[in-house]
């Protein structure tokens, strides 16, 4: 029995010791307790307790304020530890919205690495500090942002017209006249969110005319109508998140929606990106990613060399600068929409959900940049990617001069079945008006004006058999046997042959396409004789014979 008593004594003492240790650890040694113990407010030291921001509407109970005390409601005056910095002034009060809605991370946690989401089984790590504004994408998925060139022009216009001399926007500009009651003009950082006076120009002009001295006289000048449009674009995109707006415009310039869907709109070649910002770091490989194992780094490397981080990826490397890669990463991280009650959703998102409005600016240039630029290039001059067929140049002046609108419309709407060009006229891509806008934009990509076509659509009468002979000797090297395509586009394509006029086909062969491998076949070349008009008509007759089936 003595042994048993000893056993009881030792084990009980050990249990007591461990329990005391556990109690001490929980009640005194927790990190948040040690941090709060340093806190001081105007009334002295702050009470040490678990703190949280609760918002049942958003479904959050964020305990970040147990360490970041000064970001809690009413606690801005607390100081004493490095972590007690008040939150930067932002549109949404963190004391109301909580923290995780924008920053990600694990709000319920009370330990640092758990709270920051850096633990294995939390799939939504906190956004890197430099990418915090990507968190706006949780709710703001429908910002009407245009593509890069327009946005850049708008930003430059605002600067060029010297609006910054009186107005502060996104932390830049504005003059303080303390003796005249503060800022010269209102802060325009949020004109995209709240209504602004659309008659501002008339009023500015009137004030300027009435003034005898001062900034109204000296700094303001009347603005022409083109610049007015640019300024309106600029003001419409001021939502207190310039990084996000800029990143979105980059996204809308490189044709990402041509392969990927976001919010149900886009192509089908690549994965749906609607919630790409929530990609789980536990599900990806960081083997070839330089730097720390953060999702931001992974995504950036994914843009530089997709196949190295995603096995079997067909995505071509983004031919963009490092800065643009950073912005594309930023935007992708912002694709983190959450379904919330309507009262928390911005109006443009509600309109997009209920009325089918676009989640981006729907002008032709932006639509082109969003859907087409990925394959056809931002400048429309096509792309050649290793391992894939090359995508034709659609801004080629020789092409645009003779391609009728009907051909362009049909090609875009129905695509080229059997080839890489998908049909874009569908509910989750473009509607008829969009297609018109895109074609109008394409026409602006080259100076060539569309020529009139005097002939009827089908006028060629040639010898198809002779044409076939000519084709295999002259054309099949690039266009493949039977016109199946190769270096050059497929010519046996149903949609092409249905929508192309004979004039188009004849002129293309005659003139070629400058800057591409399609030379003018009226001219002789070292490797083949010149073709005559009747040769060309025979070829066209042969091509027409391909219509409706392979030969």
């Amino acid at each position: 029995m003595r042994k048993n008593k000893l056993l009881l004594l030792i084990s009980s003492a050990a249990v007591l010791l461990l329990l005391v240790g556990a109690a001490a650890e929980e009640n005194y040694l927790r990190e948040w307790r040690r941090i709060q113990a340093q806190g001081r407010s105007d009334e002295g030291s702050i009470p040490v307790q678990l703190r949280q921001v609760v918002n049942p509407g958003l479904g959050v109970a964020d305990r970040c304020v147990s360490c970041h005390v000064s970001m809690g409601p009413g606690e801005q005056g607390v100081r004493g530890a490095a972590v007690f910095v008040p939150h930067k002034p932002v549109v949404h009060d963190p004391a109301d919205y909580g923290c995780t809605v924008c920053h990600g991370g694990q709000g319920q946690a009370t330990e640092k690495s758990d709270a920051h989401g850096d633990v294995h089984f939390w799939p939504e790590p906190m956004l890197d500090k430099s990418m915090s504004y990507a968190g706006c994408g949780t709710c703001h998925v429908a910002l009407h942002v245009p593509e890069q060139a327009q946005l850049r022009a708008a930003e430059l216009a605002f600067e060029r017209l010297d609006c910054y001399s009186c107005h502060r926007v996104d932390g830049k500009g504005g003059t303080v006249r303390p003796d005249q009651g503060g800022m010269e003009g209102p802060n325009l950082s949020r004109t995209g969110l709240v209504a602004y006076d659309k008659e501002w120009h008339a009023k500015h002009t009137a004030k300027s005319a009435a003034a005898s001295d001062g900034p109204w006289k000296k700094a303001f000048r009347a603005v022409g109508s083109d610049d007015l449009t640019l300024l309106d674009t600029f003001l419409a995109t001021r939502v207190a998140a310039p990084q996000l707006v800029s990143a979105k415009s980059v996204f809308l310039s490189y044709g990402c929606l041509g392969c990927h869907k976001v919010s149900g709109v886009g192509g089908d070649d690549g994965p749906d990106l609607t919630r790409a910002g929530f990609k789980d770091p536990g599900q990806v490989s960081f083997e070839h990613v330089p730097g720390t194992g953060s999702m931001a780094n992974w995504m950036a490397e994914h843009f530089r060399a997709p196949a190295s981080v995603v096995v079997g990826s067909q995505m071509p490397a983004a031919a963009v600068s490092e800065n643009e890669i950073r912005q594309l990463t930023f935007f992708t991280l912002s694709l983190r929409r959450k379904e919330l009650r309507d009262v928390y959703l911005p109006k443009d998102r509600i309109r997009a959900a209920k009325f089918g409005e676009r989640e981006f600016s729907a002008d032709g240039a932006t639509l082109y940049g969003a859907f087409c630029a990925g394959c056809h290039g931002a400048d429309g001059h096509g792309r050649r990617l290793s391992g894939l067929v090359s995508f034709p140049s659609i801004a080629n002046p020789d092409f645009l001069a003779i391609a009728p609108d009907a051909l362009l419309t049909k090609t875009i709407e129905i695509g080229r079945p059997g080839r890489r060009m998908p049909a874009w006229l569908k509910a989750d891509a473009l509607n008829a008006d969009d297609v018109k806008a895109v074609i109008a934009h394409i026409r602006t990509l080259s100076a060539a004006a569309i020529e009139s076509d005097p002939h009827p659509p089908r006028w060629v009468k040639g010898d198809a058999a002779e044409g076939k002979r000519l084709f295999s000797s002259t054309c099949s090297g690039c266009h493949g046997s039977y016109g199946a395509g190769g270096e050059g586009p497929a010519l046996n394509n149903k949609v092409l042959l249905e929508s192309a006029t004979d004039h188009y086909l004849v002129e293309t062969i005659k003139r070629g396409r400058r800057g591409t491998a399609m030379s003018s076949f009226l001219e002789p070349s070292p490797v083949r004789p010149a073709l005559t008009q009747s040769d060309i008509e025979n070829l066209v007759a042969y091509l027409r014979s391909l219509q409706g089936g392979k030969s």
Partner: protein, 516 residues
């Protein structure tokens, strides 16, 4: 005569002053347990303690007799019970709220993290303890007459313990829980393997019925969660308590722990400082005769008295085991958190989706035949276990470790075979595959009948039969079979735990698992 007012008032105040003393006296009527009589009454006069015998045989108190495993099982259960009730203050058994409530318990509930860890570790320890306890009872042949029925109660307790562990597994509603239970429910449906092969599923579908009963729906969802919660906090604990009551009562009725026939002689050779005969003078009554019964009481025919008062000897041992169990659970809880993976996501299966560790051995076999691995072989095992006391009617070696014909050498041989057979079979299957790889169109029923699990069972059964013949004893066969199955369980569980990766493919280490 009635006392005067003055006396009555004095009496009132005297009574009031005597209240503390009287409360103690009326609550603890037997007084401090300093003599054998008071020690006796301390035990049988107390509602919580009177399940114990007043005197305990010294043999039962030896550590080598029982290893304290039974008390360890009860202790682990008590810890799980108390911590479980505490967790019920905050746990919410609805899919939208369950995961969050566990996170809250871990992060903000005072002592929540420790309580949850304790619950998880004590539950795991309980499963280990009951299996080891069963092994001890088997190896000391404690199932023999008159303890056969208690052995059956023990098997019932084992099943309920595993059920408690399994139902609790779902409650956190994380990926681990959701997919483990998805597998479990589909195993419950595996009788369809047989009924489909026979073509009678439309008329007779016990598999589908079992699954529907478990899940309350055709998918793992809110209905399943509330059913598992009900089972886990109410039905199964009550069943466990009832079975425990019978189990302990039976121990009393069977005369305490099993002892070898020569236990008293063996003890004679050991110091007897605490053993003194009860009756040295003319016996004065020590306890009442409750009834006249037919037959012998458990003490008739016994040799010299070798018992000691349960209070304090047995209680020190029990309390010692309790505190050691608590210490182990506490130490584990302080260094290792109970797992919690991502929120359950029905569209993203875990890969590999693994059952709780005690079912991983079965899951190894389920990989070939869901029915055999999930229902067939476990049923065979349970029935086999239940039959042991009824097939082994011998008496040699009762109460002795590895007692009976064959003894330790036979057990040693069985360990070798019991480990070698599954290792060889597993190696073969991992290297060469099984029937489906060689004959893609072989009917499933063939694989149900002929798969590594049934093969292993057959090997063990043949070995057991051989032992029966070789040693001329059923006990030898039982020793062999039990040992083999224990080893098989061990090997299969280890393989399922450490060497199976995504798609249940064999990997030597998790670092070799393919990355997405």
């Amino acid at each position: 005569m009635t006392p005067t007012t003055k006396d009555a008032l004095r009496e009132f105040s005297d009574n009031l002053k005597a209240v503390p003393r009287r409360v103690m006296e009326t609550a603890f009527r037997t007084g401090p347990p300093t003599t054998d009589r008071t020690r006796s009454t301390f035990v049988f006069g107390n509602v919580f303690l009177h399940l114990h015998a007043v005197r305990t045989h010294r043999w039962s108190l030896k550590w080598t007799t029982t290893m304290g495993l039974g008390i360890m099982s009860v202790s682990a259960f008590l810890i799980a019970l108390v911590t479980g009730v505490m967790l019920m203050f905050y746990y919410k058994p609805y899919p939208e709220a369950a995961y969050e409530s566990i996170k809250d318990i871990h992060f903000v509930v005072p002592t929540g993290r420790l309580i949850r860890n304790l619950h998880r570790w004590s539950a795991n320890l309980m499963v280990v303890a009951v299996i080891l306890h069963m092994a001890r009872a088997f190896y000391t042949a404690a199932y023999r007459k008159p303890r056969e029925y208690n052995w059956l109660m023990g098997i019932g307790l084992l099943v309920v313990t595993l059920g408690l562990s399994f139902t609790g597994y779902l409650l956190p509603w994380d990926q681990l829980a959701y997919w483990a239970i998805t597998i479990g429910a589909n195993i419950a449906q595996s009788p369809r393997e047989i009924t489909d092969a026979l073509g009678i599923t439309d008329y007779f579908d016990p598999g589908g019925f079992q699954r529907l009963l478990l899940l309350g729906s055709d998918m793992v969802g809110a209905e399943a969660l509330i059913r598992f919660y009900l089972l886990h906090v109410m039905i199964l604990p009550l069943a466990l308590a009832a079975l425990m009551g019978v189990h302990f009562w039976r121990i009393r009725k069977d005369g305490g722990m099993v002892r070898p026939a020569d236990a008293d002689d063996q003890l004679f050779r050991q110091p007897r400082e605490e053993a003194l005969p009860i009756f040295t003078e003319a016996p004065a009554k020590t306890y009442h005769l409750a009834a006249i019964v037919r037959g012998r009481t458990s003490n008739v025919g016994r040799g010299p008295e070798n018992t000691v008062p349960s209070m304090p000897h047995l209680f020190y041992a029990e309390l010692g085991v309790l505190m050691v169990t608590l210490l182990v659970c506490l130490a584990l809880s302080l260094v290792s958190d109970a797992p919690l993976k991502e929120l359950a996501n029905p569209s993203v299966p875990e890969n590999p989706a693994k059952a709780p560790w005690y079912f991983l051995g079965l899951q190894e076999m389920v990989a070939f035949s869901a029915f055999m691995g999930g229902i067939g072989i476990p049923s065979i095992v349970l029935i086999g276990l239940a039959l042991i006391p009824y097939l082994d009617r011998e008496t040699e070696g009762t109460g002795r470790w590895f007692g009976g014909p064959g003894g330790w050498p036979l057990v040693r041989l069985s360990i070798v075979l019991g480990l070698a057979a599954p290792i060889l079979i597993e190696s073969f299957v991992i290297r060469f595959g099984w029937l489906r790889e060689w004959f893609p169109s072989v009917p499933q029923l063939v694989i149900t009948m002929l798969n590594p699990g049934t093969l292993l069972t057959a090997v063990y059964a043949f070995f057991s039969m051989w032992c029966i013949r070789r040693y001329g004893s059923t006990r030898a066969g039982a020793l062999a079979l039990f040992t083999c199955f224990l080893c098989g369980f061990l090997v299969l569980t280890i393989v399922g735990t450490y060497f199976r990766g995504p798609n249940w493919v064999f990997y030597w280490s998790p670092s070799e698992w393919p990355k997405h």
